[in-house]
């Protein structure tokens, strides 16, 4: 299954003309879109697990204070459908995030960016919808991006309150463009992402997330299917997660 997905991705990527690509679907991009650029992002996330399914609508609003410094707010609203029980919905936990570009190395049609990330989540969620906890993500986002491909990584440590164990998170992504670049923008990009986490109790979760992205002018539409590769058994195992969303340059 995994090797088939990788093969499909390589065939798709290798068989077509490559040009520039967009930001990764599930990872935090290391760039900030510059002082003049900002994008509103919203996506729906459908999660299917052993004990039921859930749908979360996420809205992220970033604001650039300078070329190198971005702050923003992420709000979530969830619909939970447990197997054999009544479904319910409500506000989920909210997150404030800060991103500061530490390293910028620009070359012709290529850039390397490294940013420091802080994400602070607050227990704004309704009871039953979200756990009552504060969590603080401290980490980095890095990317070596050229007009031919992009390599991205997010690494970080999550401090959690209320007896929830801390988590080490790691993400890797490669992005390949399938259309030649034009201005105004018209792009079709593919991404293959690995999303992992390891908590202090030794629970390791690793998922593979192939995704596609279409960009036309100021509009971006993207989707990504996340399939678990490693996860602890007996803890409401995830079957898959699907996200479908859009970003609009403002």
């Amino acid at each position: 299954m995994i090797s088939s997905l990788i093969s499909l991705f390589l065939i798709l990527g290798g068989g077509m003309t490559m040009s520039a690509q967009g930001p990764p679907v599930r990872l935090t991009a290391p760039g900030t879109l510059g002082f003049q650029g900002s994008a509103l992002r919203t996506f729906g996330s459908f999660d299917n697990r052993e004990q039921g399914s859930s749908y979360t609508q996420v809205v992220a609003v970033p604001y650039n204070f300078s070329t190198d410094f971005q702050a923003g707010l992420i709000m979530r609203y969830s619909f939970i459908n447990p197997n054999g029980r009544n479904s319910f919905n409500g506000l989920n936990n909210s997150t404030l995030f800060l991103k500061h570009q530490l390293v910028v190395k620009n070359d012709v049609a290529r850039t390397f960016r490294l940013s420091a990330l802080i994400r602070q989540s607050f227990p704004t969620g309704k009871e039953m919808i979200a756990p009552e906890l504060y969590s603080t993500f401290i980490g980095i986002s890095a990317g070596d991006i050229s007009t031919k491909r992009g390599f991205y990584t997010n690494l970080g440590y999550v401090l959690r309150t209320n007896d929830f164990s801390d988590v080490f998170q790691y993400d890797l992504a490669v992005g390949l463009p399938l259309l030649p670049q034009v201005y105004p923008l018209k792009q079709f990009n593919t991404f293959l992402e690995l999303n992992g986490s390891l908590d202090l109790d030794g629970n390791h979760v690793l998922s593979l997330s192939p995704g596609i992205q279409f960009i036309k002018g100021i509009f971006l539409i993207e989707t990504s299917l996340q399939l678990p590769l490693i996860q602890p058994s007996g803890l409401n195992e995830k079957e898959f997660n699907l996200i479908l969303g859009t970003r609009i340059l403002m």
Partner: protein, 124 residues
Amino acid sequence: MKLKRTLLMTILLLIGGNITMKAQQLLLDASFVKMEIKGMACPFCAGGMGKSFEAMENVQKVDMAFDHGLAFLTVNKQNVPTKEELERIVKKAGFNVGEILYSEEPFEIPVRSKKKKKKKNKGT
């Protein structure tokens, strides 16, 4: 019927002629700028910069050749943006500016690699 057709043809010719004249006038009123921009690897990430160029009153048209790290502006001849103005926009977007060239003639925009290959094949 014949009269109608002649009338229609005349109107079309007049409109066509007017559009051509306006286009020629725009070209006569235009100057051209070519900029080297380093770091433009993700066009979506360069969107803010493109938007800022387009928002300038004296800019008529923006084009970019991402693979070559080049941006091309068609600007009003009477109000050409200064190097400092352009550099400020590029730096604010998080990129570095290389050479900025001005010309009264349009610059040749590099063709994409796919078209280049086709042309080469035709030649051989």
